[in-house]
Amino acid sequence: MAIKTEPITINMGPQHPSTHGVFRLRVTFDGEVVVDVEPVFGYLHRGTEKLAEERTYVQIVTLTDRLDYTASMSNNLAYVRSVEKLGGIEVPERARYLRVICAELQRIASHFISIGFMLQELGAFGTPLMYCFRERERILDLFEMLCGARITLSYMRPGGLIQDAPEDFWPALSILMESMPEYIDDLEGLVTSNEIVLARTRDVGIISPELAVNGSVTGPMLRASGVQWDLRKANPYEVYDRLEFDVPIGYQGDTYDRYLVRVQEMRESLRIIEQCVEQIPEGPIQSEAPFFVRPPVGDVYDSIEAPKGELGFYLVSDGGISPYRCKIRAPSFINLTLLKDMLVGWKLADLVVIFGSTDVVLGEVDR
């Protein structure tokens, strides 16, 4: 005898422990199985793009801190690169290297958050997250040495950086570099071959390479699907063309691959930082750019490989001290386009894990 059942619709969020902020998913379940998903966002909308039109080019740097608040350095870098391209501003060599060091440190910190929260959503309550946060703290300590802030850094300026790294930064960095590979090994030892993690993540939430490319997904999510695409290699910016590193990819684009790609990227980032520390020259860290940048009339798009994917800024200048239009291509937002394809057919428990593995930050999604 077939029992009559009917689907149940649940509002997951905006107040829900696994929505990475204030994201809302209207999910229709058939029992435990997801049959339909409708994402609702905008709860964290702060009008960043409009605010940018009212501020000078330097002031906007502080707005970019608040986009993806787990990766401020990368946001800063993407923005100042756009302004420099628009205004034709030169950047000294030392600043370029320092920027790369900062961006890669930020990538490690951001991936720690991503992995920690993914495990938290798998149900390992607290412990892995705290371990990841403990290591991330040490990176934040380095940022504090550089610019005095830990989260909203505003370290970069069009034309360079606000200040050079202090004397004690380099020994502190080398201590971190020595201990970090060991820690990543520990993390992998605890998580990578854990039976429950494998059972929960392998073959779950698969994105095929075709689907990923069609959905213009970028970053670790794209690479986990087996598409080897990294702007650091494909369109080298700053000094990445002088550095040696690999672009890790996954096998089939499931949740487990997304985790593995992130872990491998952390190792690659360490390699990059190591080379930067060896190659970094002495010299100024700020070119003679005026405080009120007045770029010529025109528009520009420039993008970098942020921890979450391709982060781009499209700036239109009317010759004034603030941009006429500032459009942000936020990787988290665009990576969410495949949410329905990933979630339908999986269970409630998989939903939070798959959503966690996309590694979204709502500050960036809603802007």
């Binding site: 649940i10 829900h16 495990l119 149900g123 309550f125 607290g126 059972a199 080897q228 409630l348």
Partner: protein, 395 residues
């Protein structure tokens, strides 16, 4: 001190015609003692769990109120007592109010029959194991009541998962205890303790493992904590509860590991048996404490299984294991028991040898069938041809 002793003591001072008063007074005194002792133990345990979790998670844990934060549970209780007790308008009020009580009572009642000394508070109850299995089964009902009455979808999800899971896991739990019952030849907890010439954890390691796994599912702790599953359902079946009702739910939940530890200590770890100068009660506490610590350890480190995987684990993993154990023990008993049905220590040593081999083999077999295996990928992943990074490098 058992019920009979207390009853006889009080009975001396009153005439026989009002024996029922003595009976009532004795019952009241005993229940008061048990409830207070248990609530205090649970309060201490919450402190211990939070402190230990803090250590596991490389943080400190509660350390503000009292020495080492020992008074933290009291502060928590006071906070919860003064909170507003919200009952949703659409809730079924009677069931909603009853659910916390229904969850708490079985946990307390189990402690009545645990033999802390020579016998339990109730004296020599000759159906101890059956009583425990029956009484703990009630908590399924409480979770369904809580989830259904709150009229909350998350709560309903938690309750439905709970019903499926708790009923499934009762089967391997009971089957794992059957092996012990065969060996002891009795379902009285006191007899099980006294029959343990060698602790049953050594004689039946498989039963112990199955029991621990099933019991941690029964009290819905990690890795089987899907009734609450903070990251998925918010708080599961007690999403809508607040104030004192929430406190009672938490009390029952934190009491569950203590109940499990007590039962495991009695059934598998020889209860109050120990080396002589130290009293049996101390041994009991030490053993129970180590069981609690193992449960806590698992909770602090393991991720959660999915609903279907949890059910699969019960029926495909634990159920065959417990049947194997039950079967092996039955055959061994048939071969090794004395004419009067008892087992000598020498025969038990033989059983130890056989059962450990059986345990290792059966777990390896089950794990190979059910497990995820090692990563099969030998070759590095092949990049898709959709994006060719090398081509754009020349630009």
């Amino acid at each position: 001190m058992s019920f009979d002793q207390l009853y006889n003591l009080l009975d001396r001072f009153v005439p026989e015609s009002i024996d029922w008063i003595v009976f009532t007074v004795t019952a009241l005194i005993l229940s008061l003692a048990v409830i207070n002792a248990m609530v205090l133990c649970t309060a201490l345990y919450t402190w211990f769990e939070r402190r230990m979790l803090g250590r596991f998670q490389s943080r400190i844990g509660p350390n503000r109120w009292g020495p080492f934060g020992l008074l933290q549970p009291i502060a928590d209780v006071i906070k919860l007592l003064v909170k507003e007790d919200v009952i949703p308008v659409v809730a079924d009020k009677a069931v909603f109010t009853l659910a916390p009580v229904v969850l708490l009572v079985p946990a307390l009642v189990v402690f009545i029959v645990i033999p802390f000394g020579e016998q339990s508070f109730l004296g020599k109850l000759n159906v101890g194991v059956l009583f425990i299995l029956g009484v703990t089964g009630v908590n399924t009902l409480a979770i369904i009541m809580g989830g259904w009455a709150s009229r909350n979808k998350y709560a309903l999800f938690g309750a439905m998962r709970g019903a499926a899971m708790l009923i499934s896991y009762e089967v391997p739990m009971a089957l794992s205890l059957i092996g012990v019952i065969i060996l002891a030849g009795s379902i009285s907890l006191a007899d099980i303790v006294s029959s343990q010439g060698i602790f049953y954890i050594l004689v039946q390691p498989l039963a112990f493992l199955v029991f621990m796994a099933a019991a941690s599912a029964e009290m819905s702790r990690a890795p089987f904590d899907m009734i609450e599953s903070e990251s998925e359902l918010g708080a599961g079946y007690h999403t809508e509860y607040s104030g004192i009702k929430y406190a009672i739910f938490q009390l029952a939940e934190f009491m569950a590991p203590l109940v499990t530890a007590a039962v495991a200590t009695v059934v598998f770890l020889g209860g109050t048996k120990g080396i002589d100068p130290i009293p049996g009660q101390v041994w009991f506490l030490l053993k129970a404490f180590s069981v609690v610590f193992v449960l806590l350890w698992v909770r602090a480190t393991w991720p959660r299984l999915r609903v279907d995987q949890i059910m699969g684990f019960a029926w495909k993993g634990l159920f065959p294991l417990s049947v194997i154990n039950f079967f092996v023990v039955a055959v061994e008993m048939f071969a090794l028991q004395e004419p009067d049905g008892t087992v000598t220590n020498q025969s038990m040593m033989i059983m130890v040898g056989i059962n450990w081999v059986v345990m290792v083999v059966s777990i390896v077999v089950i794990a190979t069938v059910l497990g995820q295996g090692k990563l099969q990928h030998k070759l590095p992943p092949q990049p898709s041809s959709l994006a060719n990074m090398a081509a754009s490098e020349g630009d």
